[in-house]
């Protein structure tokens, strides 16, 4: 009886370890840019319903943090990937969107507004997209973060993320699947939890 209980407890601990390990960020050397990157294990997902266009489909933003290490010089980046499950193929194209002029991360009592990095993902040093599933059509923008801003993100996922156009129009996405633990693990992996 005692052996069975111990076995179950060990199995539980192993499984719990696996679950924790799933949130550990991916760390690798980018083969094309030779930059060491640490990528948040899974993005925070924000969603925006467009009931006039679709009942069951939505526009999404995947938001995640990346650390780059170029010969010991560390930098932090916020990736914001815009994608959708709404079929807009029957509507006239509105022309190239050009990406947002700014992104605003919102918490109940504060917000953080960032301007996109010139050069996008190339400026980060990633040769492949991050925070997006293969085969998905998407648009991405990247924002430089200070280590203090990354630590601020670690205190809790934003409740909403807004893309701000050149004309100042806000398109706001509400939290859909935003697990704060993934950034806690990211902070541990990058050592920012000790700052």
């Amino acid at each position: 009886m005692r052996i069975a209980a111990t076995t179950v407890a060990l199995a539980f601990l192993v499984l719990a370890g696996c679950a924790e390990r799933d949130l550990w960020p991916a760390q690798r050397l980018d083969p094309k840019t030779a930059v060491n990157v640490t990528i948040m294990a899974e993005p925070w997902v924000y969603a925006r319903s467009v009931p006039m266009l679709a009942a069951n489909a939505r526009d999404y933003l995947n938001v995640g943090v990346v650390e780059t290490n170029r010969a010991g010089v560390r930098a932090y980046w916020l990736g914001v990937v815009s994608w959708s499950t709404i079929d807009r193929s029957v509507f006239a194209a509105n022309g190239a969107s050009g990406g947002p002029a700014k992104v605003r991360l919102g918490w109940p009592k504060s917000s953080l507004e960032l301007s996109p990095a010139t050069g996008g993902r190339s400026a980060v040093g990633l040769s492949k997209p991050a925070f997006v599933e293969p085969g998905t059509q998407f648009e991405e923008s990247w924002y430089a973060l200070s280590s203090e801003q990354v630590v601020q993100l670690g205190s809790g996922a934003p409740i909403a993320v807004s893309l701000i156009s050149e004309a100042g129009e806000l398109t706001t996405y509400e939290g859909w699947e935003a697990n704060p633990a993934v950034l806690v693990e990211f902070l541990k992996a990058t050592g920012l939890d000790r700052t």
Partner: protein
Amino acid sequence: MQVGDRRHGINARLGRQSKHTGGVLGTFDGLYLGWRATPAVRLNLMAGSPVESSGDGYVADRQFVSLSANWSGWVEGLEISPFLIDQSYSGVADRRAAGSELRWFVPGRTVVGLIDYDIDYSALNMVMLLGTFDLPGRWTVTGSLDHRKSPFLTTRNALAGQPVASLDDLIALFGEGEVRALAEDRTADVDSVSLGVSRPLGTRFQLTADVAGTRISEMPASGGVAAIPGTGTELSFGAQFIGNSLLRSGDVSILGFRVYDGDAGRTASLSLSSRFPLGGRLRAGPRLRFDHREFKADGSTQWLASPAVRIDWHSERTTIEFEAGGEWMSRELAVDNEKTNRYWFSLAYRVGF
């Protein structure tokens, strides 16, 4: 023709138009006049002749006048629209009804209601309540209660199955009182109730399930027209698993299962359908359906398989649709087996204006 005066909150529209408010039942030739009397109250007047089919010309023998109001501001998101309508056919009262619409929209909650009572016939033409509510855990529950006359009770319904085409001729045959009784006999009561739930699963999937019940009353024999039996209560249960953007951005795939159970028999249906953007404004939609039917009348069973594909192209106003498919059916009777194969295709061109 449409004119408006924003300063005084007045707008008017003259000509063929379509309305499903104020007790009006669709397309009519006539006048709509609206006046925003206060920020919370809009008054509407509609008058004209109902149009049976959009290809018909102006017909003056049926005329109506409708008065209605849209009243909002009492409760946030609530609009109540009471109405009165008087419709005549060849000088005989066709439909005289009072009622109200109700719409309540707030984030996470929607309620739409309608009551339509015919004063002349002392009959409830329609009462309907539809609600959608967001629940914790991203569940959404939708329910509806619906009682209605089908078709809507009008004196004109008396013409159904009769050898004459005008109400004047029918009144000459039966007299007005009898014609009004015939109109009631040609009008069924339809009751339906439904309850459904849905929940997104992750970012790309959605699960929905619903139960529904429908009952259609019998229509008795009268005026030389045979009786039409009622349906009894037909129940259906269905569930759908919906996937979005699985193979291409914007695609939709639906796996559905539904069971119908009624007086005639029981049908279980399994279906898989998809719609894929092919590029530009071209979309393709393959679908496959399997049905198993049990007929209560003779105890026979039937299998049906039906694959089909639909390809459509849309522009702002134009749609071109091509559909082709087949249906293989096998019915096991007591003494024999019956097999039927059907194939079809259609090509349609639609212009909206």
